[in-house]
Symmetry: D4
Subunit: 169 residues, 8 copies
C-alpha cells in the first residue's frame, strides 16, 4: 500500500493537533504517512522529502506548524504537489496570529492551501477532496462523509427540544 497523503509536522508537540488529520484519513481508508520535519532544524531533509515525494506516490502534503510557521511554504517551494498548511496555536505562538500569517501570506507563484487555526481534520478532508478529482472511489467516500455531517445537527435539535421553558413553543 502506497501513501497518497503525507502529514508533516514541525515538532511532535504538534501531534495532539495533527493526529486528527491522521484519524480522518484512517477512517476514510486513504493510505498516508506521518513525518516530523523542521524547516529550520532539518532544512536539508525538508528539501529531500519535498523533491522526492511525488515519485514516492504522494499526491497531497499536509504540513502543520506554529509561530513563524515556515514549514508549509518551504515544502511548497520544492514541489508542485499541492500543500495544505495547518496553522497551529503553539505555546510560542501569539494567539495563533503568527502561525496563520506566516502560512497564508505566501508570495506570488507559491501558494499554500491554508485551513483554519488547529484545523487538522479539515486539512485531511480537503486532501481527500483534492484526491477525489481523479479518483471515483475516493469521490464516493468524500460524498458519503459530507452526507454524514447533517446528523450532528439533527442530534443537536433533539437535545434542544428537551430543554423546557414556560414560554418556549
Amino acid at each position: 500500500m502506497q501513501a497518497k497523503v503525507s502529514i508533516i509536522m514541525g515538532s511532535t508537540s504538534d501531534l495532539p493537533i495533527m493526529e486528527s488529520a491522521a484519524k480522518h484519513l484512517n477512517e476514510l481508508q486513504i493510505p498516508f504517512e506521518l513525518n516530523a520535519l523542521s524547516a529550520h532544524r532539518t532544512p536539508k531533509q525538508v528539501e529531500d522529502f519535498a523533491t522526492k515525494a511525488y515519485e514516492r506516490g504522494i499526491r497531497v502534503i499536509i504540513a502543520g506548524a506554529g509561530g513563524a510557521a515556515h514549514l508549509p511554504g518551504v515544502i511548497a517551494a520544492f514541489t508542485s504537489i499541492p500543500v495544505i498548511g495547518v496553522p497551529i496555536k503553539a505555546s510560542i505562538s501569539i494567539d495563533g496570529w503568527d502561525s496563520i500569517l506566516s502560512i497564508l501570506q505566501m508570495p506570488p507563484g507559491i501558494p499554500v492551501a491554508t485551513v483554519g487555526l488547529n484545523a487538522a481534520k479539515n486539512a485531511a478532508i480537503l486532501s481527500t477532496q483534492m484526491l477525489s478529482i481523479g479518483d471515483e472511489e475516493i469521490k464516493e467516500k468524500v460524498d458519503n462523509f459530507k452526507k454524514s455531517l447533517e446528523e450532528k445537527i439533527v442530534k443537536a435539535n433533539e437535545q434542544l427540544s428537551q430543554i423546557k421553558f414556560e414560554y418556549k413553543v
Copy 2:
C-alpha cells in the same frame, strides 16, 4: 401560543451562551423557539427555515455562531425579518475576532444587527425592543426591565459603602 422570536445556534456547543437569550425571553413572557441549524452542514434547512419563518409568526431571529460565523448572514439573505447576530467565542475562534467580523461586516443590502461577543442576553433584550415597536404590551415589559437595571448599581454602592479605609470619606 405562537413563537415570535426564533433563537438559532450553529451547534449545541453554543447552548451555554445562547440559553441566556432564552432565559430572558422566558422571564419577559415572550413566546420563542430554539433551533440548531448550520449554515454549512444543513444549508437547505437554513433556507427552508428562513423563507418560512415569517408565515409561521416569527418576527425577530436571533442567530449565534462562532469562527467563520456565516449563520446570521445566510439567514438574513433569505428573509427580511430582522436578524440579530451573536458572535460567539467558540473553541475554534481566534479570541472572538473571527466571529465578530464575519457577522458584523455584511455587504450593502443585507444587514445583521450585531451585539457584543457572547452577548446573547443583550440580543434577547434587543429583540424585545424591536417587538415593542408595534406592541404596547411588550413595550411596557421592556420599559419595566429597563427601570430594573438601576437597582444593580444601587446595590453595588451599598457594598462599596461598607469598605473601610482610614482616608475614605
Copy 3:
C-alpha cells in the same frame, strides 16, 4: 408627517457617511429626521433627545460615531427605543477598530444593534426591517427592496460574459 426614524451623528464631518442612511429612507418613503448631537459636547441635549424621542413618534434611532464612539450607547442608556449604531472610520479613528469596539461591546442590559464599518445604508435597511414588524405597508416596501438586490448580480454576470479569454468557456 411624523418622523419614525431619527438619524443622529456626532459631528457633521460624519455626514458624507450618514447621508446614505437618509437617502435610503427617502427612497423607501419612510419619514425621518437628521440631527447632530455629541455624547461629549452636548450631553444634556442627548439626554433630552433620547428621553423624548418616543413620545415624538420616533420608533428607531440610527446613531453614527467614530473614535471612542459613545453616542449610540449613551442614547440607548436613556431610551428603550432600539438604537442602531454605525461605527465610522473617522479621521481620529484607528482604522475603525475603536469605533467598532466602543459601539459593539455594550454591557449587559443596554444593547446597541451594530452594523458594519461606515455601513449607514445597512443601518437604514435594518431600521425599515424593524419598523415592518408592526406595519404591513413598510413590510411590503422592505420585501420589494430585497427582491431588487438580485439585479445587481444579474448585471454583473452580463459584464463578466463580455470578457474574452481564449480558454474561457
Copy 4:
C-alpha cells in the same frame, strides 16, 4: 471545451483582483468560466450553481469575496468539489482582516483552501496543482510554470549587480 475551473466573485468590483486568476488559467490553457454570485443577494443561485457544478465538469472552484466573505464557505457547504477562497481587501473591508477570517476559520467538516489577501493568481496556480493530481498533461504545465519562477530572481540579481557603491564588493 468543458470548463474545469469555475471562478466566482461576489461582485464585479472584485474583478480587478479576480481577473489575475483568469489570466493564469488562460496562460496555462486550462478551460475555465467566470461568474458573479452573491451568497447574500442570490443565495438560491449559489445553491443551484454549487450542487450542479460537478456534473457540468467543474473540478475546482475559486471564490473571491471581501468583508464578511461568506461566498467560499457557502459554496463549500453545497458541494464536495474543493473550494479555494480568495480574501479580498474590498472597500468595505477592515484592512482585509474580516475577509481573511470569515473565509479561513470554517467549522469542522467544511474546509475552504484559503490563499493570501488578494492572491487570486496563487488561487489559480493552486487550482492547477489540484487538477494535476489526476492529469499528466496539466502536471507538466504546472512543473514548467514552477521552473519559470526562478528567472524573476535571476533578473533581479542582474539589476542589483548594476547598482554602484564604493564599498560594494
Copy 5:
C-alpha cells in the same frame, strides 16, 4: 475631612482592580471616596455626580470601566475636573482592547487621561501627581513615594546575586 479624589467604577465586579487605587490613596493619606455609577444603567446619576463633584471638593476623578467603557468619557463630558480612565479587562472584554480604545480615543475637546490596562494603582499615583501641582504637602508625599520605587530593584538584584551558575561572573 473632605474627599479630594473620587474613585468611580461601573460595576462592583471591577472592585478587585479598582481597590488598588483606594489602597494607594489611603497609604498616602489623601482623602477619597468610592462610588459605583454606570454610564448606561444610571446615566442621570452620572450627570448629577459629575456636575456637582467640584463644589463638593473633588479635584481629580478616577473612573474604571470595561468593554465599551463609556464611563470616564461620559463623566468628562459633564465636568472640567481632570478624569483619569482605567481600562479594565472585564469578563465581557476582548482581551482589553475594547476597554482601552473606548477610553483613550476621546474626541477633540474632551480628553481622558488614560492609564494602562487594569492599572488602577498608577491612576492613583497620577491623581496625587495632579493634586501636588498646588499642594506642597502632597508634593512631598509624591516625591517620597517616587524615591521608594528604587528599593524594589535593589532587592531584586540581591535575589539575582544568589543564583548560582558555573559561568556566572
Copy 6:
C-alpha cells in the same frame, strides 16, 4: 513670564501634530515652552531636562512620540511632575499601535497620562485641567473653553437643517 507647561517632541517631524497643543495653550494664555528631546539620541539631555523642570516652574509636561515611543515614560522616570503622553502615528509607526502601547502600558509606579492618537490638542486641554486644580484663574479659562464646545454642534445642526429630502421631517 515663566513657562508652566513644557511641550516636548522626539523629532521636529512631530511638529505638525504637536503644534496644536501649543496653539491651544497660546489661545488660553498659559505660558509654555517647546523642546525637541530624544529618549534615544539625547538621553542625558532628557535626564537633565526632567530633573530640573520643577525648579524652573514647569508643572505639567506634554511629550509626544511615535513608534517605540519611550520619551514620555523616560521623562516620567526622572520627575514626579505629571506627564501627558501623545502617541503619534509617525511614518515608522504601525498604524499607531506601537506608539499607543509603548506610552500607555507603563509599569506600576510610573504612570503616563495618555491621550488619543495624535491628540495633541486634547493633551493641552488636559494640562490646563490639571493646572486649574490650584489656580482659580485657569479654572475659569478651562470652564469657558468647555462651554464653547457646544457651539460646534449647534452649527452642525443648522447645516443639517438645510439638507432637503422629500421624506425628511
Copy 7:
C-alpha cells in the same frame, strides 16, 4: 573570568523567562552576569550600567522587559554594544503585543535586535553568534550547538513511527 554577556531584566518577575538565557550561556561556557535594572525605577543606574559596560568587558547585552518595555531601547541609547531585546508576556502585558512593539519599533539610529516573545534562549544563542564573529573558540561551540538541533527531530520521527493506524504506511 570576565563576563562577556550581560543579562538584564526589568523585574525579578521576569526571571522564570530570562533564566533560560543564563542556562544556555552556562551550557556553552560563556561567562555572563545577571542584573535587575528598571528603565523607569532606576534610570540613573541604567545609564551608569550602559555607559560602563564596554570597559568592563561586556560585548553583548540581553535585556528582557514586558508591557511598555523601554529597557532594551534605553540601554541601546547609552552604548554602541549590540543590545538583544526579549519581549516578555508579563502579567500587565496585552498578550505580548505591547512588549513586542515597544522593543521592535526603535527609531532610526538606535536598533535593538529583537527576538520572539519570551524567547530568552534564542537571545542567548544570538549573543553567542555575535561573539563568534571575532572568536574562533566560540564559533566552534556555536556550530556544535547548531548540529545538535537536528536530533530533536530525529527523535520526533522515531516517536511518530510508533503510532499505529491501519492505513498508515
Copy 8:
C-alpha cells in the same frame, strides 16, 4: 576587498527599502554585497548562499522580506552567522503584521535578530555593532556615528526656537 556584510532581499521591489542599509554601510566604509534570493522561488540558491557565506568572509547577513517573510529564517537555518531580519511592508503585506511575525517568531534554536518595520538602516547599524565586537577600527566608526545622532536633535531645537507664539516662553 572582501565583503563582510551580505544584504539579501527576496525581490527587487524591496530595493527602495533595502538600499538604505547599503548606503549606511557605504558611508561607514564597510565592504558589503547585495543579492536577490527567494526562499520560495530559488530555495537551492538560498541553501548554497547560506552554507558558503562564512568561508567567503561574510560575518553578518541582513535579509529583508515581506508577507510570509521566510527568507531570514530559512537563511538562519543553514548558517550560524548572525542573521538580521528586516520586515518589509510590501504591497502584499497586511500592514506589515505578516512580515513582522513571520520573521520575529522563530522557533527555539534558530534566532533572527529582528529590527523594526522597513528599518533597513537600523539593520545596517546593528550589523556594524556586531562587527565591532572583534574589530577596533569598526568600533571607532560605530562610536562616531552614535555621537553624530545628537546633532539632529540640536538642529530640531533651533527650528523650534524660531516658532513664535505670544505665550511661548
